[in-house]
């Protein structure tokens, strides 16, 4: 009786597996050719120097939402103030912090309270005080009542003076040239409304004066697996989607936006755990509905460093939040699914995210069950089962290696040959427990979507960007 449905389901699984992996492969090829080869040549050091010397840049407001970031905030702000860019302001928004975040900022940057005639383009929770630094004229600090990360970003946006703004997490660190490289794209393309940069794990690196001075592979396998995950996400996935003008995610850790476009679309959505993805999807929707030419891009160049979770509990919470955020956003914009009005976004990108991202944990769990049951009942031969599982593992390793391979071409790559071997081994070991662990958490998150709407959860960090390094509570970016 169950033979026919099981056969069909097995076939669906096979096609699902083949389709997903071939899409990844396509993105990998496209990413390499369209982005790395071109970017490596067009955005050379010489051309960047020309840009600076001749004042061809657009000034940027850097928005840093902070909630209870006493450990890392001073180091982060210092690294931002040291960026190589001629005209920018840093706006730190303390979102009702309950720790010493404000006190540390006031002390470190000689902040003086001053009234501020800001625009009220976007409604936000009340602002308590606005401060300006006496030592750094381009630093503004806002102390406001708690309203969430999106609300803090909106408050910063109300104060931003420049045509472009960068949303940067308070626990992340930007490469010295990151803003310059990202703004260059806005100079070249008037239709560009947002650019997402590459995020790389900071764990294992040596940081001095807010800069990564030496890169080394983290010691724990848990962190090494995440190095691979970030490489897969940024060097293949985002690059591919960007090439097809269907990029749906710009990491909250670092993205550069055209201020007027974001204001036109209504700013960041308050009450979601995925304000970064939600904004990007809304920007697409907004401009497609208006019929106005626009572009949203990923660039492999501007690099932001972030500390990835070092323990399973934090990792679980992070992935749970990411997956809920993805589901929340897709559900909120469900009218885009297979809607030809939204072009390739509605017909390809959004369906992909529904089928291969949001529903993937359910498919994967059911796949494990079916193959297990099939093998146990004799419906599927054990030999076939083993071969198929092995194929899935090898194919996954192949994709991981291709993504990690792109990293080899970066001048700031993991320098030791041993690190490259570790990445090869990590691509194999991650299939033994790590992936299944994450699949289970994402399955749980799928079920929790209606019950935990907008809940972030505490994150435990080591504080690599900080002056000192005790425990802190921060939110981690989505890769």
């Amino acid at each position: 009786m169950w033979s026919a449905p099981l056969t069909v389901y097995q076939y669906v699984l096979l096609v699902y597996f083949s389709g997903l992996n071939l899409l990844y492969a396509l993105f990998c090829c496209v990413g390499l050719r369209a982005l790395v080869i071109v970017f490596a040549r067009e955005f050379s050091q010489g051309s960047l120097r020309d840009l600076l010397e001749r004042d061809v840049y657009k000034p940027v407001s850097i928005l840093v939402p902070a909630y209870d970031e006493e450990v890392s905030i001073v180091g982060s702000v210092r690294s931002l103030l040291a960026l190589q860019f001629p005209e920018f302001e840093v706006i730190v928004v303390s979102d009702g912090s309950t720790d010493e975040t404000m006190a540390r900022l006031i002390d470190a940057f000689s902040l003086a309270e001053q009234p501020w005639a800001s625009r009220q383009d976007l409604p936000t929770a009340p602002i308590r005080r606005t401060y300006r630094s006496l030592t750094h004229p381009n630093l503004v600090v806002v102390d406001k009542e708690n309203g969430g990360k999106a609300d803090a970003l909106n408050a910063g946006l109300n104060l931003a003076r420049y045509p472009l703004f960068a949303a940067v997490d308070a626990d992340s660190m930007l490469d010295a040239e990151a803003i310059l490289r990202a703004t260059r794209l806005f100079v070249e393309d008037e239709t560009l409304v947002a650019v997402g940069g590459t995020i790389r794990p900071l764990n294992g690196a040596v940081v001095q004066d807010g800069r990564v001075t030496e890169l080394a592979m983290p010691k724990r396998w848990l962190e090494r697996f995440q190095v691979l995950e970030y490489a897969r996400a940024f060097f293949t996935g985002r690059a591919g989607w960007s090439h097809f003008k269907s990029l749906l995610i710009i990491s909250g850790a670092f993205g550069l936006f055209r201020r007027t476009a974001v204001l036109e679309a209504g700013g960041f959505l308050v009450g979601t755990v995925s304000e970064d993805m939600e904004l990007v999807v809304r920007l697409h929707k907004h401009f497609l509905r208006k019929g106005q030419p626009y572009n949203i891009r990923f660039t492999p160049d501007p690099i932001c460093w972030t500390e990835v979770p070092t323990d399973l509990k934090t990792l679980r919470r992070q992935r749970n939040r990411w997956h809920r955020g993805l589901c929340e956003t897709l559900w909120k914009h469900r009218d885009m699914l297979f809607n030809p009005r939204y072009g390739r976004l509605g017909m390809v990108a959004v369906p992909y995210f529904w089928i291969f991202e949001a529903l993937s944990p359910l498919v994967e769990v059911s796949g494990y069950l079916i193959v297990g049951v099939g093998a146990f009942t004799g419906f599927v031969s054990p030999r076939f089962t083993i071969l198929f599982v092995l194929l899935a593992v090898l194919y996954g390793m192949l994709l991981s290696q291709l993504a990690a391979g792109v990293e080899t071409f970066l001048s700031t790559r993991y320098p030791r040959l041993r690190d490259r071997v570790v990445l090869l081994v990590a691509a194999f070991i991650e299939f033994v427990g790590y992936r299944q662990f994450l699949v289970l958490e994402r399955t749980l998150a799928t079920v929790q979507v209606p019950f935990k709407k907008g809940q972030w959860g505490k994150m435990r960090r080591q504080g690599a960007t900080a002056v000192a390094a005790p425990e802190t509570a921060v939110t981690a970016p989505r890769p």
């Binding site: 071939l22 080869i37 192949l398 290696q401």
Partner: protein, 413 residues
């Protein structure tokens, strides 16, 4: 930021691996479907699965080997290249300063210069100009580097083409100018962008040659006929350095100049601070396109002067229906005589746009003691709270008011 060798090979490896994997997975899916749903018992599903598995394992081994080998060799190569660059840079410097005869330069090497030698001289040529630069260029040409680069510019390989354009941009060889501007019609945007930058850099070093057939005129014609973004066109004009003034003057005088390029010319004139071109800019202050009106006022603000013929259009623009025109006009009004500017600016303090209020107050504060006094008066007594707040903020930013005093200003604290 990125290593530029091996990436094309890596892309090829990726294509090859996944081309084969696509076939294998496709065959597996079809054979599975045939075997299971049509009941064809002897479909070789397991055989195909095994073959797919073997090919994937082989691909993984190949890729792993490639990456390890690349990592190892590129580490050695990078180190060696840096050493070579240092050595060659020293030789080129000696040559540029005429300490070494050109024929001794490539001593011990073949007539064709090694890669490190070319890289070193190209880096030098970015900073060394005039006679020393010409001497280096002559040696490059003597070794056939110009011909090699020009051949690569026409290459079918994107990487080779982009590398050659970049090198020509650094070398600024006059003999490459026409080849570069011909690339402005290339279908690939990245080629057009890099070519226009390289052509502009080259033109900057070429001797002036007025007339319709001169390089400046040819550059303008190429710009008019190409599809590049305004930002890139602007960057190319800025790269013209000392030649920029003449080219911009010719460009603005073109009767058939499109709005986009006119906007670029106005922006560039302002950015370069070509004060003697204020008259040319003034002509666009009453243009029908608000973007162009705003660009003209922005340029005048940067030039630091508003010619008399533009006074009328500026005063009119302070009441323009488009807010960004009012913003730029308000900024430019700081260069009008204060007795004309102050009464015209003051209504802008209660403009509905925050940006106009800010530009107005900032301009007023720049109009000397009278202007600062007017802003201070607005901060204390203006009936509109938004105007008072903006006046206070501008006074704070100008350092005229300290934060403690600002809090005491009625209605703002």
């Amino acid at each position: 930021m990125w290593r530029r060798y091996g990436d094309a090979v890596y892309t090829l490896v990726t294509f090859a691996v996944f081309g084969f994997e696509t076939l294998a997975l496709g065959a597996l899916s079809i054979s599975f479907l045939l075997g299971r749903t049509t009941g064809i018992a002897d479909t070789p599903v397991e055989g195909i699965l095994l073959a797919t598995l073997t090919s994937t394992a082989s691909a993984l081994a190949l890729l792993g080997f490639f990456l390890l080998a690349y990592h190892f060799t590129s580490t050695l190569r990078d180190r060696w290249h840096v050493e070579q660059l240092d050595t060659w840079t020293e030789r080129w410097i000696a040559l540029a300063l005429e300490d070494t005869p050109a024929e001794q330069l490539a001593e011990g090497s073949t007539r064709r210069l090694p890669r490190a030698a070319v890289d070193a001289v190209l880096s030098l040529l970015e900073v060394v100009k005039s006679e020393e630069g010409d001497r280096l260029k002559a040696v490059l040409a003597g070794h056939g580097v110009d011909r090699l680069l020009l051949r690569h510019v026409r290459s079918g390989h994107l990487t080779a083409r982009l590398d050659a354009i970049e090198s020509l941009g650094k070398a600024r060889l006059p003999q490459a100018f026409d080849a570069l501007i011909s690339l402005l019609k290339h279908p690939r945007p990245v080629v057009r962008r890099m070519a226009v930058r390289a052509a502009a850099g080259t033109l900057a070093t070429m001797p002036p040659e007025p007339g319709p057939d001169g390089p400046g005129a040819r550059f303008i014609e190429a710009l008019k006929g190409t599809d590049i973004q305004s930002g890139v066109a602007q960057e190319s004009l800025l790269l013209l350095e000392t030649r920029a003034g003449a080219v911009l003057r010719d460009l603005l005088a073109q009767p058939d100049l499109g709005d986009r390029l006119r906007w670029v010319a106005l922006e560039t004139t302002g950015r370069l601070g070509l004060a003697d071109m204020a008259g040319e800019v003034a002509g666009s202050t009453s243009h029908a396109d608000p973007e162009l009106r705003a660009a003209a006022f922005r340029a005048l603000r940067r030039l630091g002067s508003v010619p008399e013929e533009a006074h009328g259009s500026l005063l009119e623009a302070l009441r323009d229906e488009v807010d960004f025109v009012r913003v730029q006009a308000s900024h430019a009004a700081a260069f009008l005589p204060s007795e004309v500017a102050l009464p015209a600016l003051e209504p802008g303090l209660e403009d509905e746009s925050w940006w106009v209020r800010r530009a107005t107050a900032a301009s007023m504060a720049r109009l000397g003691d009278d202007g600062v006094a007017a802003v201070r008066r607005a901060a204390e007594t203006h009936p509109d709270q938004a105007a008072r707040e903006m006046a206070v903020q501008i006074l704070l930013e100008a350092g005229v008011l300290d934060p403690a005093a600002a809090r005491l200003v009625k209605g703002v604290a």
